[in-house]
Every structure is written in C-alpha cells, then in structure tokens.
C-alpha cells in the first residue's frame, strides 16, 4: 500500500465501537491537533491530553476516530468496567 494513503482522509483504521472511554499518554503527545480536528462532534481531545484527563463525556461516540488517527499512539480505549459502574 502506498504510504501516501496515510495522508488521505479515509478512516479504514477505525477501531470498532467500544464500551469504553479514551485515555491518553501525554508524554507522547505533540499537541498537533489531529485528534480534535477529526472528532466528528468537536470534542477537544487535544486539550484533554494536555491536562492528562480521560475523555469521559457522555457526548463521546466512542467512534475511535481520534484513537485511530493520532500519529503518535497517544490515545487508547480503556474498557469501562461495567461491573464497577453498576456497583457505583
């Protein structure tokens, strides 16, 4: 596959929908903004990363767009612990 495909706006690396939320490893982040730019509902993911906060927003679609597009492997999903959530 041509590496130029990396630069096209297709999202074939999209991760499947998840019961979870987006967490970050801020030490890898260069604040480039690709995550925020691609979030379909305009969550400023980058700002969360700067403050080392997980994206725990009810609007988050967990669509995986930000996780898949971050070029530095900053973002990942952690599965929301359904058991804990129920208990809490």
């Amino acid at each position: 596959m041509s590496f130029l495909n990396h630069f096209k706006n297709d999202a074939n690396r999209r991760t499947a929908l998840y019961a979870g939320h987006v967490v970050a490893d801020p030490s890898r982040c260069v604040q480039c903004g690709i995550c925020s730019y691609n979030c379909p509902i305009g969550i400023d993911v980058r700002a969360h990363v700067w403050r080392d906060e997980a994206v725990i927003k009810s609007e988050c679609l967990t669509c995986g767009e930000c996780v898949a597009r971050c070029p530095r492997g900053v973002l990942s999903f952690v599965q929301t612990d359904l058991f804990e959530r129920r208990a809490g």
Binding site: L4, N9, V30, G33, I34, G73
Partner: protein, 435 residues
C-alpha cells in the same frame, strides 16, 4: 515578583502554567516574535501533507482568562543582565525579577551560491510551511537536502502536494547515526517505491536560478538536476543571539543546572535552547523534542516561583513517521556522525547517539522491525518500525530500567523471538510496578 518569559513555544507556555500554580499574585509577561503565536511545531509536518488545516495547529494555550498573564508581541534584541532588563525591538525596555529564556532553536542555514533565491525553503515556522505550500501549488520538481526527521517530512509533504522529488544524501544512507543499515534501507526502499529519486554521495554545491527563481542545482561531481524548489533541513542550532555579549555560560546551548538555572541565579532556560544537565550521565545534552521542552518549561517555572524542583531527564523518546512507517525511537540507539546533519536535527536527541557498549538483539524485516539495545541488566534503547504494539511497553521498561536479567540470555540467542519475549516479560513486570 515580576516574571518575564521570552518565547511562546511549549516550554514558555508550560512555564506560565507552572508559575501560576505556585504564585497567584506575581506579574507574568511573555514576549515572543512569532506572528502566529503558539502552535504545534511537530504538527507542521501534518499541515504540509494536508492531514491538518492550519487553524487546527493552535493548541490550547493557557487561557489568559483563567491563568493570568500578559503577552507582548516583539523581538527581544538585548539582555542587560546587570540591570535586570531587556530591550524589545531595539527600543522599548522592560525589567524582570526572574527571567526565562525559551527561544527555541532555528534551522542551520544553507550557505552555498544561490541559497538566498526565493524558492529555497526550510521548515522552522508556520510561515515557512505556508510558503512551501504556496510554492508547491505550481507543481514541478523539488530537490530536498539534509537529514533527520525534518528532511523526510519535507520529502513527504512535497510528494503529497504533487511535486516530483529528488532527495540528496551526502553519505551512503539515510540517518546513519541513529538508524542501522537495515533500517535506513527500509526507509529508502519505501521512498523509492513512491517515486522519490534518491541520490547518494550527492554534495550540493550550487543552486542555479533565472530572474530570481530557482531552475536547478549542481552537485560536486558535476551532476546537474533541473528543479523549481530546493528544501533543506541540514540541522538546527539553539538560538543564542540573546546570550551574546552577556556573562551567561554557553556551550552548544545555554548551559543550565538540574533546576534549569543558568549561571545567573535570576535567569533560567528551557526547551530547545537549553543544554540541560543530566545527573544520570553527568553530561549536558541538547534535545529538540516537544515533551522534554514541556517538562523543562514546567520545572523552570516551578523553580522561578520558588518551589525547588529538579529536572530528571527521561530517556528521550519520539514516535514519528519515516516514509509513512510509524517508528518509535527510545533511549540510546546509535552513534557517530551523520553527514547530512550538522549537530542536532529537529525531533532529535543527542542521547540517541550515546550508545554505550551494548549488544543488539534484532528481529523482523521490512515493515515490522524491532531493534533492542541490551545493557547489562536492562534495556538501554529500542527502535520499533511498523507494528507499534510494543512501543509503550518498551518506553516504560527503558525509562524505569526494568531488570531484564531473567530474559537477557534468551533475547541474545540467534533468531530469538524477541517480540514474544518482551511481550511476555511486560505482562509480568507491569504488575510489579505502579505505572
């Protein structure tokens, strides 16, 4: 207390936040000369390829509504140490009690005949990136010279914008003091597959032009290449103009101790301009990396506001794309000298070339490639190309100096399945350490 911060990059911004977290009353003034203010420099590469709109490059700066500080646009032209004063744009004067110099680094300029022509470009600032895009719109052929990450970013950006690209390398392979021969080969192969014309042992001696516009280059061996644009990335140097004619201690950068303090107790330095003392190696090293710049700015800010804090350098680390291949570089992985870069490049660390005597364990070929530098008891460096599953585990293991004695022997066996060994080790080790 009056704090003045010169430079609105990530180091300066992190310092503002840190000072405010300690001192709510002091006055903070930031002075910077970039007309575009604070934005992500590493993001410029994605702006060039078209993955990002320029508006998206501006990160969340400390919000002046929430974190009180003033920002003045202007260039600091002189530092008057004895008077605790600065001169801005050659005239206005301001005073400080504590000063942070966070002015970053800039590209080493290309000094050959023709290098001042309009179509000769570098990539330091957003204004450079915008100029490159404007010129690339015309199409045609580009020649790229230099090394490290930025040279490839230029190659990839120009290619993505539809230009034909020649890439000139002085030596026999790409980034020879960080990558090994096989890794350079992987990168070069991928560039060639995209149609990039690579020229080894190619020494650029002249850029030719007509009516002020570039029309070609000439090499030392007499070869000539027709082109419309020349882009260079031959290294960077810390911006030391401000320190000229002062008593500040300099080496290749501004020398600072582990509190990011210069030899003047009221002046601190952080980010690309600082040559920071590393207590582990006992040496002072330059980095050109975003996260160390942020950490240094943070620690400098705390110290300026009176909270004594030491900067502990972690093994430098970068995740980047080399010819479209995601690559993680951690700790010490190479040595020696790269003919394409003078000193240090962007997204680079001197520590990467500090390889002590270590043994190499290597596996994989082409797009899934891993090289580990195995020390006596721990890993001291790693390069990972392609699949990045082990990138975070390796980063943690190297920065925490995980004791790998239990798998060291197996890692060094010929054809060892090093990825499996590391993955298994990680599963057990992570439980023993709070990450």
């Amino acid at each position: 207390m009056k704090y003045v911060i010169v430079g609105a990059g990530v180091a300066g911004m992190a310092a503002v936040e840190a000072i405010r977290s300690v001192d709510l009353a002091g006055e903070i003034l930031m002075v910077s000369d970039d007309p575009h203010g604070y934005y992500s420099r590493p993001g410029l590469a994605y702006f060039l390829t078209g993955e990002l709109h320029d508006k998206a490059l501006y990160p969340l700066a400390p919000d002046p509504q929430k974190i009180k500080f003033d920002h003045l646009k202007g260039r600091v032209t002189r530092l008057l140490q004895a008077e605790h004063a600065l001169e801005v744009d050659g005239k206005a004067r301001l005073t400080y009690d504590k000063l942070l110099i966070a002015v970053g680094a800039c590209a080493v300029s290309l000094e050959i005949p023709g290098s001042k022509l309009e179509d000769v470009v570098k990539l330091d600032h957003l204004s450079d990136a915008k100029k490159i895009l404007r010129l690339a719109k015309r199409g045609g052929t580009a020649v790229v010279v230099g090394g490290g990450i930025t040279a490839l970013e230029l190659v990839e950006g120009l290619l993505a914008r539809g230009m034909k690209v020649h890439y000139l390398l002085r030596g026999d392979r790409y980034w020879s003091n960080v990558l090994d021969r096989q890794e350079s080969h992987i990168v070069e192969g991928r560039l060639q597959a995209e149609g990039v014309m690579l020229h080894h042992h190619a020494e650029l001696v002249e850029i030719t032009g007509r009516n002020g516009r570039v029309n070609g280059v000439r090499l030392l061996d007499g070869r000539a290449i027709k082109c419309d644009l020349v882009a260079y990335a031959i290294g960077i140097h810390p911006s030391l103009d401000l320190a000229a004619n002062t008593a500040l201690a300099l080496d290749r950068g501004l020398l600072v101790n582990e509190h990011l303090q210069t030899n003047d107790p009221d002046i601190y330095a952080a980010g690309d301009v600082a040559q920071a003392y590393d207590p582990l190696s006992g040496r002072s090293v330059l980095d050109s990396l975003w996260n160390p710049a942020r950490e240094q700015g943070h620690v400098a800010g705390l110290n300026m506001a009176g909270r004594k804090t030491a900067y502990l350098k972690s093994p430098p680390f970068n995740v980047t794309r080399l010819a479209g291949l995601t690559t993680t570089i951690i700790g010490a992985v190479g040595r020696g000298h790269d003919e394409d870069v003078l000193g240090i490049a962007r997204g680079d660390s001197e520590t990467w070339r500090d390889l002590p005597d270590a043994i190499v364990a290597q596996s994989g070929f082409d797009v899934n490639h891993m090289r580990l530098l195995v020390g006596e008891r721990s890993l001291i460096g790693a390069i990972l190309m392609g699949d990045q599953t082990l990138s975070k585990p390796l980063q943690k293991m190297i920065s925490n100096r995980a004791d790998i004695s239990s798998i060291r022997g197996k890692l060094l066996e010929p054809d060892a399945p090093i990825a499996d060994l590391i993955a298994d080790f990680w599963v057990g080790w992570r439980k023993t350490i709070a990450l």
